[in-house]
């Protein structure tokens, strides 16, 4: 995870000094807790390695979590990391740098596809292990042991909240990237013929998509010096007043550029619904079938589709005419 990525997540989570203080307050983490945690450092370094060993018995003992650790080398590396990680819980304060460090955890877990359930479940075991050791260590001072357990609980829950937030942010970020990718794929302009373009619109036309359609269509017309732009809406889920409005605007802009717009793929349902909505589609050329739209477009540029046999007829006629011309 790169530094700028971490900063991006800090931004997404609005993590600044204010947020940090607000969280510490809500988790009721006070200076007393930090004194307890810092004071437990010796205790922690004495037991953490052993606790990590025990923790991995759980993790490697479960068929689903085991798969995240392909070989012994990985297990050893992760155990070392885990030991460092747990040691860092015993500290005298929490600052933004520490949060940055912790953001990685959720981020990395999301990236390797480790669901929060395993993370939380493993943390539960850690809490049990450390609590058992504490109670054992301070069996003569149960009041102290209780206080220490409270402080550890607080910081662990604080940590879990940061990790879960990062999990969610990383997930949302992934979904957003997929959406962007789909959007890029979703306005393919096809060259049907010299100076005739076709844009099939499929799915949902939301605000972003409508803008994208307008932009793409106008740019492509200029680039290809197109005379006719066919927009096929057979695959559009719903044509409501908003979509109709966008289509009307787009066709107006196309005309403004000196090209013609033909709207194809109008189903009987769409026709009926749009009329009932009271939308005036003005002078937009529309057809039910895409094939008719293409024919209309070719006619527009002075070309025509003629049946094969008719072509033969024409050819024959021409041949018959030629000798006549000589006469």
């Amino acid at each position: 995870m790169r530094r700028d990525e971490i900063d991006q997540y800090m931004d997404i989570l609005n993590f600044d000094e204010y947020e940090l203080r607000s969280r510490l307050e809500f988790f009721e983490i006070t200076d007393d807790d930090f004194r307890c945690l810092a004071g437990l450092r010796d205790f922690a370094s004495k037991y953490t390695e052993e606790i990590v060993e025990k923790l991995y018995e759980l993790i490697l003992g479960h068929p689903e979590t085991r798969t995240f650790f392909p070989d012994a080398e990985t297990v050893e590396r992760v155990k070392r990391k885990q030991t460092e990680y747990f040691m860092k819980l015993f500290r005298e304060n929490i600052d933004l740098d520490y949060i940055r460090d912790r953001l990685r955890i959720g981020f990395v877990h999301e990236k390797i596809g480790m669901p929060p359930k395993w993370y939380l479940g493993a943390y539960r075991r850690y809490l049990q292990l450390i609590t058992d050791r504490l109670i054992e260590e301070y069996r003569d001072r149960p009041d102290l042991a209780e206080q220490y357990v409270r402080s550890i609980e607080k910081i662990i829950f604080f940590e879990m909240a940061v990790s879960i937030d990062t999990y969610i942010a990383a997930h949302v970020e992934t979904v957003t990237r997929h959406k962007e990718a789909i959007r890029e794929l979703s306005t393919p302009v096809i060259k049907v013929h010299d100076r005739v373009l076709l844009l099939p619109v499929i799915g949902t036309v939301d605000t972003h998509r409508a803008q994208q359609i307008m932009e793409t269509v106008l740019l492509e017309i200029v680039e290809e010096q197109a005379k006719v732009m066919i927009i096929d809406i057979a695959g559009v889920a719903v044509v409501d007043t908003r979509v109709a409005d966008h289509l009307i605007r787009t066709t107006k802009a196309i005309r403004f550029l000196g090209a013609e717009a033909i709207l194809t793929g109008i189903s009987p349902n769409v026709a009926r619904t749009v009329v009932q909505l009271g939308v005036d589609i003005g002078e937009i050329q529309t057809t039910n079938r895409l094939a008719d739209g293409i024919e209309l477009a070719l006619h527009e540029i002075g070309k025509a589709i003629t049946p094969k046999n008719q072509e033969k007829h024409l050819e024959k006629a021409r041949q018959q005419e030629r000798p006549g011309e000589k006469r």
Binding site: T241, P268, L277
Partner: protein, 143 residues
């Protein structure tokens, strides 16, 4: 779980929160699925889906947030979809004019509300400026 002895329309209510633009699609998909379940003909389905699209969008554009309640009405021979569009937005100031069509504050065609009314079988609107809008719509399955 549904209790066979009771009026099933009580249970068949679902609320969809409208907070962002994508929620409009969710609402539409729920209505589409309900129309399919009830065996709506394609035009009636298209009408009720379009109404959902229009009025859910109005919530998002004008009120920012609100909810759409989808109710499956199944009273023996009479089947239909009841929809409620509820928001605590600015309300509609000149309702009669807006219902005539062609008036828009949102930069659109201004036909969403009037068009939805025409597409619906029952249409009821309660709006108070500054307090919000509650629209109830019913589309019956053709018999």
């Amino acid at each position: 779980m549904r209790d066979a002895g009771h009026d099933s329309s009580q249970d068949a209510k679902e609320s969809i929160r409208i907070v962002e633009e994508a929620d409009i699609i969710t609402a539409r998909q729920r209505v589409r699925a309900t129309a399919q379940e009830l065996g709506f003909d394609s035009f009636a389905a298209s009408a009720i889906i379009t109404i959902t699209s229009e009025l859910a969008r109005n919530i998002w554009v004008y009120a920012g947030r609100g909810e759409v309640v989808v109710e499956r009405i199944d009273k023996g021979a009479r089947k239909g979809i009841g929809l409620q569009f509820i928001d605590q937005g600015p309300g509609i100031v000149d309702l009669p004019k807006v219902l005539k069509g062609g008036l828009s504050r949102g930069g659109g065609l201004g036909l969403g509300l009037s068009g939805s009314k025409r597409l619906a079988d029952e249409f009821d609107i309660d709006t108070q400026p500054g307090k919000g809008t509650h629209i109830s719509v019913v589309k019956w399955k053709a018999r």
